[in-house]
């Protein structure tokens, strides 16, 4: 298993998905070598063997230069960087690939190579070349998703294209992602299997919500206000300017709405200005970066959770919100909407529809109650054990050269 992060050192959903998938696979008898680009302690991972490809700390996994942004990935970097040079992303990836080469030479061919996203695709391809083992490429997001309405980095596109071509089978986390892989990379659909992510409810923990973290919002709720929340990174991909515009539109129709934006990101200042320009700054709340209790309680305080993404391969946060008893409004461009029925859907640009749905839920307590209750049954049906079972099936199909199930 070739991954880039695991909890608690994850920056997003990729690490969480890799962790639960591996755990479920191990429970079904798989023996897993999990390669990471950094070295750190990971609690509760005794079900697999973790390898650190470098001595970097988790925070340096995109290179010592700092956070990952694909616009800084250059061909120049790849060609000129010494293998020992871990200052940038390409150096770390090269090092990672070399480590995987040595690992498979030492341990022999695995039954399957499972590589997650473009970050590890080159290592996956090398391992396949050396061992002849089948390569499963698991796509959690493409460069097209990450770059929003921009074109993305051509080098990353090239690596994704090669990885998808070389793969024996491809796992897409949603039908939306499958269609992007087909449309944008010209990969035939029968090579791609959609396996939706699940949510591990147990990992969210047992606790009593104390209603204190967002005391001011709770006090507004007592006065009849409805809290509409989103928990995300503030990047173009997440479509938050549409969210703010819809918030303004909804507030015109119904006065007792407030909006919680939990998270941080490059778009924060723009969103603050926009909410002031639209005259709703007073009812828009910014938390800054949150994790732990304030992160969890952002879901708890929410009556309505909106996923406004322009392009979201899956969208685990929607399931987390459902688990914390929020009614969901999700863009049609988010993969998670494929596995849920009791939600409102809209197109990311359609602020009138979003505003209408916000007001509709706020005005109808019984509608909100039904949405919350019904969606709980839906997300609970999806389990990591099903994901693992599907993966194992794919591994053995790929090994026996069968393409169709």
């Amino acid at each position: 298993m070739l991954g880039w992060e695991l909890p608690p050192h994850n920056s997003g959903g990729l690490g969480v998905a890799c962790y639960h998938m591996s755990k479920a696979l191990a429970l079904q008898g798989a023996s897993i070598d999990f390669v990471l680009p950094y070295t750190a302690h990971h609690p509760d991972t005794e079900f697999m063997t973790i390898h650190g490809a470098t001595t970097l700390s988790p925070l340096e996994r995109y290179g010592r230069m700092g956070a990952y942004d694909s616009k800084y990935i250059t061909e120049h970097g790849y060609d000129s960087v010494e293998e020992s040079d871990l200052s940038d992303m390409r150096g770390v990836q090269r090092h990672y690939t070399r480590f995987v080469e040595q690992l498979v030479k030492k341990n022999g061919a695995p039954d399957a190579i499972h590589a997650h996203d473009w970050l590890t695709m080159e290592a996956g391809m090398r391992a396949k070349e050396i061992t002849g083992a089948p390569l499963i490429v698991h796509v959690h997001a493409t460069e097209f998703d990450r770059s929003g309405e921009n074109s993305g980095n051509p080098i990353v596109h090239e690596i994704e294209y090669q990885g998808l071509m070389m793969a024996d089978r491809i796992i897409a986390v949603s039908a939306i992602t499958k269609s992007i892989i087909m449309r944008r990379y010209g990969i035939p659909g029968d090579k791609i299997e959609v396996i939706h992510n699940a949510i591990d409810v147990a990992s969210l923990g047992n606790y009593d919500y104390d209603g204190r973290t967002y005391k001011y919002l709770e006090s507004l709720k007592e006065e009849g206000y409805v809290v509409v929340a989103t928990v995300t990174r503030f990047t173009i991909q997440k479509g938050l300017t549409h969210f703010i515009r819809a918030a303004a539109r909804a507030s015109e129709k119904y006065d007792k709405l407030v909006f919680l934006l939990a998270g941080d990101g490059e778009q924060r200042d723009e969103l603050i200005s926009l909410s002031a320009d639209l005259g709703i700054a007073d009812r828009v709340f910014f938390t800054g970066f949150v994790r732990g209790k304030p992160w969890r309680d952002a879901y708890n305080v929410a009556d309505v959770f909106v996923m406004s993404s322009v392009s979201e391969p899956f969208g685990l946060t929607a399931l987390e919100a459902a688990h914390h008893n929020a009614a969901l409004i999700i863009t049609r461009q988010s993969g998670v909407s494929e596995v849920l029925n009791s939600i409102f859907r809209y197109d990311f640009w359609d602020i009138d529809v979003l505003a209408d749905q916000m007001v509709g839920i706020a005005l109808s307590p019984s509608l909100a109650k039904d949405l919350k209750a019904n969606v709980r049954n839906e997300y609970a049906r999806i389990s990591w054990h099903d994901v693992a079972r599907n993966c194992l099936r794919l591994y053995s199909q790929a090994a026996s050269g069968k393409v169709h199930a």
Binding site: R212, T213, Y214, K215, Y216, L217, E218, S219, E223, R268, D269, I272, S273, A276, D277, G279, A281, D282, F285, F286, T287, G288, P294
Partner: protein
């Protein structure tokens, strides 16, 4: 014949800056002004102690010396309530030294809003309450009455002059801005349009800014400025007029221009140099008004301030964050006042200090340097978020208050 006089007016002010006050503090903690991090300029105690050492103590010492040495040396000071409260807490000796200056009889205290607010533009009632509070505080502290008014940031227009006239002030001050003055000189006493018994004094911004902004600028062709040169400029400026009005922040001396720029020595030499000529003197604002008849009438229908190249209110009210912040703040007025809760009313008023919205200014490009220098926040957006959270907490407190009283 009356002497040619310099009118030196210095503005003493420190705001109560809002700490990093998040949504997680809102409705939990009410200590908006108590930053615990002692390494940041959001920490009000730290700033007050620092500026006391760099500016208030050395400058008051120098002023005291000059006042004793030269009976003709005069100064006018405006001292905000938010400064006084902080000095009472962290530098009482500084307040004592201000009292000694006033006791010489050569120092006039100028009237203003206690909280250095822009209340005039939002609520006349609240504005008058703050003027009254300030007059009471000045009387209590210094034993003097005020008779000349300055509005926050010298924000002035014709209706403010009318208000001050009707309120009984004999004088009011404003920026001597070219588009208003046209061919006229700022070096006269004027009468504000539509008033009866009040005079207007206008800042000579060229000579004022030579000290306040340019003094230590090594790229300035006049650097280093000497007392001789500056006296010549003042003389030349007054060729056909009786006054030069030097209006600036008190903190010019020692804080904006550090001691090592030579600002204190320069100032001492300049005062001596100026008074060497028996035709020259200094006036307080009131003396200048009492000594000279208005040379004409000045009308400023639009608000003029002493800030930036635009001389308007855009540094405080130019963007929608600033407008939203003050709109929501003043919307609470009735409920806040009705609560009768002195602590709550005080916190609400401390949020009215104009510096808070100044920190939210985003017109960085031409005036950005000045704003950047004065802001203790990472960005105007952070300043806005902390302020809004504090405002929400005030609203929470007032709603709790009325709930308990069955409103």
């Amino acid at each position: 014949m009356s002497s040619r006089g310099i009118v030196l007016y210095l503005h003493v002010h420190q705001p109560l800056r809002v700490r990093k006050y998040s949504i997680f503090d809102t409705a939990e903690n009410h200590d908006y002004f108590d930053e615990s991090d002692t390494t940041t300029d959001r920490n009000n105690e730290r700033v007050l102690r620092k500026v006391a050492d760099k500016s208030y103590r050395p400058m008051n010492e120098l002023l005291e010396k000059l006042l004793h040495k030269y009976p003709d040396f005069k100064v006018s000071l405006s001292i905000t309530g938010t400064f006084i409260e902080q000095a009472e807490q962290w530098a009482p000796d500084v307040l004592e030294s201000f009292k000694r200056l006033v006791a010489t009889g050569q120092v006039e205290i100028v009237s203003e809003t206690y909280y250095h607010s822009l209340a005039f533009f939002y609520s006349l009632e609240e504005f008058e309450r703050q003027v009254r509070m300030h007059r009471d505080k000045i009387r209590e502290l210094f034993g003097v009455e005020t008779s000349v008014f300055r509005n926050t940031e010298l924000a002035y227009n014709d209706s403010l002059a009318k208000w001050a006239d009707e309120y009984g002030f004999k004088g009011i001050i404003a920026e001597g801005w070219d588009p208003v003055l046209e061919w006229r000189s700022p070096n006269h006493v004027y009468k504000p349009a539509g008033t009866q018994d009040i005079s207007l004094l206008l800042k000579n911004y060229r000579l004022s800014d030579d000290l306040a902004f340019r003094f230590s600028n090594k790229a300035w062709e006049q650097w280093p400025l000497t007392a001789d040169t500056y006296s010549e400029w003042a003389n030349a400026s007054m060729k056909d007029s009786p006054l030069v009005n030097l209006f600036m922040d008190y903190e010019t001396f020692g804080e904006h221009q550090w001691a090592d720029t030579g600002i204190f020595d320069f100032f001492e030499q300049f005062v001596g140099k100026w008074l060497d000529n028996p035709d020259n003197t200094f006036y307080t604002l009131s003396e200048a008004i009492d000594t000279h008849q208005p040379a004409g009438e000045i009308s400023m229908p639009n608000t003029v301030t002493w800030a930036d190249t635009e001389r308007d209110l855009t540094a405080w009210l130019g963007n929608s964050m600033q407008q939203e912040a003050l709109r929501h703040l003043y919307a609470l007025e009735d409920e806040i006042i009705r609560s009768g809760d002195i602590g709550l009313i005080g916190d609400w008023r401390k949020l009215q200090t104009s510096d808070h919205v100044y920190y939210m200014c985003t017109k960085w490009f031409t005036d950005g340097d000045v704003h950047a220098y004065f802001s203790p926040y990472e960005s105007p957006y952070d300043a806005f978020l902390y302020f809004m959270n504090a405002l929400r907490d005030v609203r929470y407190r007032v709603s709790e208050y009325h709930k308990h009283r069955g409103l």
